[in-house]
Symmetry: D2
Subunit: 339 residues, 4 copies
């Protein structure tokens, strides 16, 4: 069932992330509907379609072009993001692409250039932390004046576990992009230089594997950032973002529901993954994206430029990790479209 | 604009609470729409109607009976709740009535009896804490087995300020009902006896005014409850619920977004009111209520029986406060409809 | 080895508490020495004497009268406290008596009357919470003016486990006295009325056993207090004291050393008992007591009057628990010696 | 008054730190006495001497050599530390030298070599964090096995304010040494490489001034460390140390006494300086030092080797900051005396 006047969204990719997005639209975003879904695994796609009252299409490009699809949400594997986003740009359909926007700098650049050439912003990138209430509170505190200028961003990003053989480059592409985006968003300055160190936490890891990275970024105008990314943290999934400002600091609080005292401990449950941790952020991101399309107001999340910059930093970090050197980041001027 | 197949809700009362409910439906409850609104202040009603694409009706009973209204949400002044809820029952429309269900025991009884006579549950009562993630986490911990049986409920309920002249009875009717409902829901036993003490925090208060109450409730099966309700707490709005269980305890955590260090302090902002504190709970309550109507599944919130029991305890507490005695609560058997 | 000019202390009772006191003097209270120890178990006494460079005496009264003992610390079983304290008063030696000062009201009264007759304060009572930095911080906040007058004291007192057969009266005598003292100290008003409810947490407890009490106290001048005392809390030992004041609240913080993230949890270790929890308080209490004797300055802890009042409240609470009635507390005027 | 058999300590320097040490000995370290004090400001020295029953000497070297001084505590200005410590070594007296052990690598080396030549450990260095209960709890958790091996140390060090003109080198010498020592102590590996970035938080600072440094250290055996040192943090003094380990993390908890709710905030007071924050650590450090001398047991704090290593890292960090390069730390073999 599709409501008259509601925004008809096509969802590409119905793994964990795509399914969550589809169900969030169906349940929590009034004025929008999941019109079509696609997944390589058609049975999986069918289950989501059934739950949302959508239909299954058997080709992602056909979904993008379908006349009953007003906007596209891309949650398919990372390597497909850039090409599918370009396909949306080609026919002028709004698209929310899960992070990363691309897995290489040239791919990210192609998307960026296509949108700049088009002259209007159709691409949203799923850095959902920008909608997470704790991160939003940090942003507000940092811009509220009371703390003065932000000086240092400190990110912590811990995954419960990573696949065997994960490398530092994998971590930088798949995970650390969030932290690069948060640092840029919260410091609001241009990154200039990066330095990355990594270690491997497990004696039985494959040769060359790394699972704990320490990233240092130097920004323009006396600002710095650092991020710890540990993807075999075992104890659970946890993200935190702190800003050290001139007159004080502000840090995201973990969204704990209840404190339990038992067995000699007083403590909190740690979520297993990002879907549990960022439950609200995903809903607010979709709500804001749909509003931006329906009402013509700006999207408050990440743009193609932000997605491109995250990829540029990722690339410099990979070089730093491999060469064990400090690496400069040479970002182009911010195109007028994103200023 | 109303979507085909969506649940058409009429909202009675567009003060702070009613407006929030209307906007939550409009934005966050897919598959439902605000079809009609009523408020004594028609201009205020019109603003909400405009924001939601609804129309304004000039009579609450006409709204209830309107053929384009599938379900009713009552957020008008407390004294109107029982009569309007009865009007919904009379024509068999589902209704979500804000707490309290009534302001007197006989009124609550009338609603209860009407629903029992009808033989099916149409009434939901807006004790939204049952949908608050912290409270839900306490419920889960208490029923999860690890902590053993709950023994003692401890509620804290603080409002920033109360109107001049507020009495202990006012507090018991307007505020403490939430705590009575939480205690019953979390202890899952019948209340037997209450004892209430109250003081007045302000030297310049009106004669007989009280603003800080301490309630003790004895329940069947070796369980107890206590609630502090302070309605001139000045520092902000805060609610907490703790269960002391056989082998440990669990307590709601305040949903803090960010920790700020500034001016010799490290701390959190306290919200001003319940709309800020229970933001998510209100959305989840509506989502669950709409699902219960559309899918015929049970509503997970409070029933008319729960609303009646809250009123019964409120009444005993008023007596205890006035007589300074321990007062027995003689609850009838739980009707089969609510077992 | 005893230092010239140092205060020579005799310790009666070398169980857990007495041993801790002796070792604290020996290690952390410069200017004082453990001169003599007594315990019914002479081997145990000898071990403490060896560790402190003290000698063992074989009779508590002989210890009190010994000319090489300047001051006495009583940490023997509760029933001996009053008589031994009286023996100290008889010969005019300063004495720090562990709580409770007595186990019956008449006994407490005898000690009080003896000191009043003597006309100077020689008795200190070991309500060590008055020296606990968290409790001291609550006292300071409450008297600092920023929060206005205190209105409500809320105590929480949880022991990991209690002996089989523990009754409500046992809890009131052995444990709750601390909370009565804290309430009086922090509210600084006269108690007027008490109400106590209790339950038993264990299905296999002995008949009449209770292990979880809820105490409500009404004080003069619009003040109230409540205490939860649960002595089979299983998860560990925990004490907390909160003051709800006119313009805000203040509550003791648990003195956690480190936050651990492991196994899906983020939390703190809870201590097993009071020796771990009140480590600093015991040292500061002794330091202040020794200073009060050596420098003639007032002792900042509890007096015989405080010990007597705790017993009076305890007694009223036992009556309330047994009769299930509200019980008035008829305290005499505070003697001039304690004003 | 000096007690027979007690350890007679001479204190050099009676500024804030030296006065605190003297008073701590006098009040909280039984078995030790302040026998003599020296300060360039003799009136200041006299005040401390009066409070402790000590006498004032007019020359630090005379104090060291005085036959009534068994052990020396150095709390004079940083530049005097190495020479005075050497003077103690020359006559074989135990010495507790406040950090830093020296202000240059050659000076630190001289002290180290002198002690190694002597063949026994007489030098203790005042890295008091090793006695701070939160830091000790981190050490215990890290060595307890439950968390696996430590991988990453993360230090935070914030001073309320620094003198106008403070440079990065000043911070590294005066403040960051604590963090270098903590990292070494907690990771228990040899440092190999450092990278330091710094910014200046104030627009009106002197040219070349810096007040916020970010230090990255690479250790042997797949371990890393990072420290943020911000000396104009404005909001107060705060130190934290976290270990990210294979299976979890552990972080020092701030020793908060009480939580206050007032004025729309729920929070804690932040101490102004290290004397308030490390109150217990200073006492425990002295107690352990005195025990180590009197009982011949090992001192559990930092040695001359630790003091030397802190200086070596400091020096590499200064180079990194000045050259903006990664700098290798070439530490000699740990001498047998310190293994």
């Amino acid at each position: 069932m599709h409501s008259q006047g509601s925004l008809r969204i096509g969802v590409i990719g119905t793994g964990g992330m795509g399914t969550r997005h589809a169900m969030n639209i169906h349940r929590f975003v009034n004025g929008a509907d999941v019109a079509a879904v696609y997944d390589l695994d058609q049975a999986r796609a069918q289950r989501v379609a059934d739950a949302c009252g959508a239909r299954v299409l058997d080709n992602p490009r056909a979904l993008i072009q379908n006349e009953n699809v007003d906007a596209v949400l891309i949650a398919s594997p990372d390597e497909t993001h850039a090409a599918l986003t370009l396909a949306c740009l080609e026919i002028g359909k709004p698209v929310l692409c899960e992070k990363p926007l691309a897995t290489t700098v040239p791919d990210a650049e192609r998307v960026l250039n296509a949108e700049v050439a088009l002259g209007r912003r159709l691409v949203a990138v799923g850095f959902m932390r920008r909608f997470d209430p704790p991160h939003v509170a940090v942003k507000h505190a940092a811009t509220g004046g009371k703390l003065g200028q932000p000086l240092l961003f400190k990110g912590v990003h811990r995954n419960a576990s990573a696949p065997y053989g994960t490398t530092g480059a994998n971590i930088l592409i798949n995970s650390a992009g969030h932290d690069f985006d948060s640092a840029r968003w919260l410091l609001n300055e241009q990154v200039q230089e990066v330095y990355v160190r990594g270690v491997c936490s497990r004696a039985d890891a494959s040769p060359g594997a790394q699972d704990l990275l320490l990233v240092v970024m130097s920004f323009a105008n006396q600002r710095m950032a650092t991020a710890e990314v540990y993807v075999n943290a075992d104890y659970g999934y946890e993200v935190s973002a702190e800003l050290v400002c001139q007159h004080g600091t502000v840090v995201t609080e973990q969204p704990d529901a209840a404190l339990v005292r038992a067995n000699g401990q007083r403590g909190y449950s740690v979520p297993n993954d990002w879907l549990a941790r960022f439950n609200e952020a995903y809903i607010f991101e979709l709500r804001d994206w749909v509003d931006s399309i329906q009402k013509g107001q700006p999207f408050h999340g990440a743009s193609a430029w932000d997605g491109y910059m995250a990829m540029l930093i990722t690339n410099a970090c990979i070089q730093s990790l491999q060469t064990q050197q400090i690496v400069a980041v040479n970002a182009p001027q911010t195109p007028a479209l994103y200023q």
